[in-house]
């Protein structure tokens, strides 16, 4: 088998992308296309006293100007957060109202107040500039800590003190006791910098209302078109589900930012009905910085206690999470259930307590960005381990090793039951590949060139698959987290796989075909993947949280189980053999130990012509399945980063990066390694380059690629990616998911390497040249005073 599981099959989808024939949302243009441009608030917090659109209405090409009063008047509902978090005092979270077009108050720069619909994009944007909005400015707060202070500006009436929830997980008394008995306690105050996900394809929507059919079609940049339809229908009242088709065609990266349903899609759908035109909106990059959901933005105070042998006695965390001006779709879950349950890392820790306060500020809403909560947890745990090792004079790898979980399944004190892993093994694998033994020599060589070389570790756990539904529901999720699939064997034997997973760079058209090729022995070219269209695929929860492998592929396997069952029955009947004697391999359905066989396509044909089927069997060969796993999957990894710092400039170069990952069973190593390369680069971006910055007035200072530093090719090295497979017992393929590992594990490895190089633990992300230079100077001060 050259195309089955574990093979580096080249991507089937590449041809259209390398020839310019990809079909992204903005590439779609309908006859009679009109264009939308949004009128956005220039203020971070203000009352909207009035909107004067008279001049704009009279401008060339303008079809209509619509505002929030019309939108709410037509019954379009407020945007919601779909995961209910309960505060530790039992009170529900305080969700403030968020209208797609603001009616009375704007709460961040970029908040939309009106939309212009015009014949051309340029006409719409020019007219939007002419819409006069009368604002009364209000006081502004941008930092989460400031938002909690007495007298801070109040952003939503129903969230006193800007507090959304005050939530906890774990046993505080036991953790305090664990810390009290510790021989050593390490204390850290860390910020996790605010990021903008920045998929290279800006968000876009093309909405068309068909009056005759009373039916809407939306092309949109979505990671989960069925969820989009569900939310647009059930909560935003745009149209009932059977009157709304959502298509996510080729999507140019997501990283979380395209999970959510944004004001722009809602408004375009509604405007297409109001104007009787197909309405298109495509974000400019500057607009994307102003409106795409941000990620991270935590401030944390934490303590970890160790006994005299370096074993962890307790871990206590107090985090403030900035959720921005409104609660985005899954925002509440990110700093709670996707964060605190990861605090045990790869370690056997008996006592953990995590308290999280989520607050409103006058900034873009914050939601899941690649890793979502898990990078924030991992950054804390892994900086804690490295810092503690240095404080105790221990080798950081040895401190980790002493605390590793050794037996599986392992129950942590923070909800999770780890499925499988071999943490000492992957650490060893990483250390060998990274030639840790030769590091001191490399450090001396760098010193001879005037460079400070450092090495940093990160050994981390993830929770992927985002499931099971029952558990998610008990923790407040408003949706189920299963996946669905349909396997259609056509009469001539070719196969179509309809999946609720969505590929926006992950290569599903290849990897999903590989698992079918493996199972039925058919060529990957005879398997077609259908996804991203609510009219074609029955339902799906979409792609995020590294769930397409563990959940999406598992649903395909379940549907293939049913197909195989029917194939066996048909073959046994036709070949006059027992079902138990039928085997499927190499495109043949055979009777074991005989030369009796049917070609795969002959079985397909037999099922559809139905001339000779077993009594009572329905014709056709098509099965569907829903897969709801029993647990998350838990990929793990060991990253080792080496950096060189120029002490004169603070410039840091990542010169070596080694990852040893346990993703369970790997379907396509080439694609999995590509996911690691990209994820690690985003992690290096967070550690060294990226940060969303607002001034005190809430004006976004990082609104373009001239201000927000994206990792370029020269910022990263080639990566050494190693694998060790311990199959997950929680899904039929044993896969664990790989999409987020790099972004989760890389930031602490990079910062630990820099702090090793410069000899101080006092360094925040992003470690820009200026930040590193200052940290280095501050650390050298006592020496200078001597």
């Amino acid at each position: 088998m050259t195309s089955g599981i574990g093979q580096n099959v080249k991507r089937k989808e590449d041809k259209r992308f390398i020839t310019g024939k990809g079909r992204y949302t903005d590439d779609h243009r309908n006859d009679n296309q009109a264009y939308a441009a949004f009128v956005r608030s220039p203020h971070a917090h203000a009352k909207v006293l009035g909107i004067d659109a008279e001049e704009a209405r009279g401008m060339e090409g303008v079809i209509d100007v619509l505002d929030g009063h019309q939108l709410t008047g037509d019954g379009i509902g407020n945007l919601i957060c779909g995961w209910a978090i309960t505060s530790k005092d039992g009170s529900p979270m305080n969700m403030g109202a968020w209208s797609a077009l603001a009616t009375d108050t704007v709460r961040y720069v970029g908040d939309a107040v009106a939309v212009v619909i015009a014949e051309t994009n340029a006409q719409a944007r020019i007219a939007a500039e002419a819409v006069m909005v009368d604002y009364e400015e209000l006081p502004v707060v941008v930092h989460a800590i400031d938002a909690l202070k007495d007298g801070a500006p109040q952003i939503h009436d129903n969230a006193p003190g800007n507090l959304i929830y005050d939530w906890e997980l774990g046993d505080e008394a036991a953790t305090d006791a664990g810390l009290a008995e510790a021989a050593h306690v390490t204390t850290l105050d860390l910020t996790n910098n605010r990021l903008s996900p920045n998929p290279m394809e800006p968000r876009s929507a093309v909405a068309t209302y068909d009056h005759a059919e009373d039916h809407y079609t939306l092309y949109t940049t979505s990671q989960n078109p069925h969820v989009a339809r569900l939310v647009l229908s059930a909560f935003y009242n745009v149209a009932p589900e059977h009157k709304l088709r959502v298509i996510a065609p080729d999507v140019g990266g997501g990283f979380g930012a395209k999970i959510y349903i944004y004001p722009e899609e809602i408004t375009c759908l509604w405007a297409s009905m109001k104007t009787n035109r197909s309405v298109k909106w495509t974000s400019e990059r500057g607009e994307a910085f102003l409106t795409d959901m941000h990620g991270r933005d935590h401030v944390t105070h934490a303590k970890m206690g160790f006994d005299k042998d370096g074993r962890i006695t307790g871990f206590k965390i107090d985090t403030i999470a900035n959720l921005g001006a409104y609660m985005s779709l899954f925002s509440s879950s990110v700093p709670t259930y996707l964060y605190a349950p990861l605090m045990s890392g790869q370690y056997d820790i008996q006592n953990i307590h995590c308290n999280v306060r989520a607050v409103y500020t006058n900034t873009v809403p914050v939601d899941a960005y690649r890793g979502a909560g898990r990078p924030e947890a991992t950054y804390l745990v892994e900086r804690m381990m490295e810092t503690a090792a240095r404080e105790m004079g221990m080798d950081p790898a040895e401190l980790r090793r002493r605390n590793f979980v050794q037996e599986f399944p392992h129950q942590t004190p923070v909800l999770m039951q780890y499925d499988a892993g071999d943490f000492p093994k992957i650490l060893e694998l990483a250390q060998e590949a990274a030639d840790v033994a030769g590091f001191e020599e490399r450090r001396r060589e760098a010193e001879s060139r005037g460079k400070l070389r450092g090495i940093g570790y990160s050994t981390f756990i993830e929770a992927c698959g985002l499931a099971p539904s029952k558990a998610a529901g008990s923790l407040g999720a408003g949706v189920g987290l299963w996946e669905s699939a349909e396997v259609r064997v056509n009469p001539a034997g070719t196969i179509e796989i309809l999946t609720g997973s969505h590929s926006h760079g992950q290569g599903h058209e290849t990897t999903f075909a590989q698992i079918v090729a493996e199972r039925f022995g058919v060529p990957v070219d005879s398997v077609q993947i259908v996804h991203g269209d609510t009219d074609k695929v029955q339902f799906g929860m979409g792609t995020y949280g590294s769930r397409s492998g563990p959940v999406g592929m598992s649903a395909v396997v379940k549907a293939m189980d049913k197909v195989e069952e029917k194939v066996r029955q048909i073959a046994a009947h036709t070949l006059e053999a027992s079902e138990d004697d039928i085997e499927i391999s190499g495109g043949q359905v055979k009777v074991k130990g005989t030369d009796k066989a049917m070609a795969w396509h002959e079985v397909g044909l037999a099922a559809y012509v139905a001339h000779n089927l077993p009594d009572g069997m329905e014709p056709g060969l098509k099965e569907t399945a829903f897969f709801d796993p029993v647990n998350f999957s838990f990929p793990s990894g060991a990253f080792i980063c080496e950096v060189e710092v120029d002490p004169d400039t603070g410039q840091t170069q990542v010169v070596r990066f080694t990852s040893a990952d346990d993703f369970g069973v790997i379907v396509n190593p080439m694609i999995v390694e590509g996911q690691v390369h990209g994820g690690v680069t985003q992690g290096i971006g967070q550690a060294l380059l990226e940060q969303v910055v607002y001034d005190e007035q809430g004006q976004l200072l990082t609104g373009s690629y001239m201000d927000y530093t994206m990792p370029r090719a020269a910022d990263v090295p080639f990566f050494d990616v190693q694998h060790h497979e311990t199959p997950s017992p929680n899904n039929p393929l044993g896969v664990k998911g790989c999409g987020e590992a790099g972004a989760i594990g890389a930031p602490p490895a990079v910062i630990n390497a820099i702090t090793d190089a410069i000899g101080t633990n006092d360094l925040a992300m992003p470690a820009t040249p200026q930040a590193v230079w200052r940290a280095l100077r501050a650390a050298q001060k006592p020496m200078a005073a001597e």
């Binding site: 992204y24 290279m200 373009s704």
Partner: protein, 156 residues
């Protein structure tokens, strides 16, 4: 409105366009060559890179009317009956994931290989990374893009 004519992918084309029309808009909206992508508004990302008179140009930085008589090649015009070695290399080396930056990467890659060859300079990995300053990818971490360009350079 100004009438502009140019040769795009070997075909003579012309249209009356508003003076402020960018080459990227002209290609995407007038000619419906949607392989040229627009990923930013400040000429940093390079997703719109095309060849104008044999040199790589960011199509979002050029006004269509300033290119009267120019010869333009877009990603759609790169394959000449069969795929260009740079296109093959991106497939062979998994040099793309979501595919959005890919047309610009391929156009920049072809240009840098040709340019270094003409100048007799060695296009090693460090040079490729330096040359990619103007092309941003969010998916691949550049690892396989650099390998793709190295691979294509050996075969072009």
């Amino acid at each position: 409105m100004t009438k502009v004519t140019m040769k795009v992918n070997g075909r003579k084309v012309g249209a009356d366009v508003p003076d402020q029309t960018l080459l990227s808009e002209f290609l995407r909206e007038n000619l419906r060559l949607t392989g040229t992508h627009v990923g930013c508004d400040t000429s940093q990302c390079g997703a719109c890179a095309v060849h104008v008179n044999g040199k790589v140009v960011k199509a979002c930085t050029a006004l269509a009317v300033s290119l009267e008589g120019a010869e333009v090649t877009t990603i759609e015009g790169v394959a000449n009956g069969e795929l260009h070695p740079m296109q093959v290399a991106f497939n062979d080396n998994h040099g793309l994931q979501c595919g959005f930056c890919t047309p610009g990467m391929i156009m920049a890659g072809i240009d840098m290989v040709n340019r270094y060859r003409e100048e007799g300079r060695e296009l090693d990995a460090a040079a490729i990374r330096h040359e990619l300053e103007g092309n941003i990818c969010r998916c691949t971490g550049y690892h396989n893009i650099v390998k793709s360009i190295q691979d294509a350079a050996a075969k072009m």
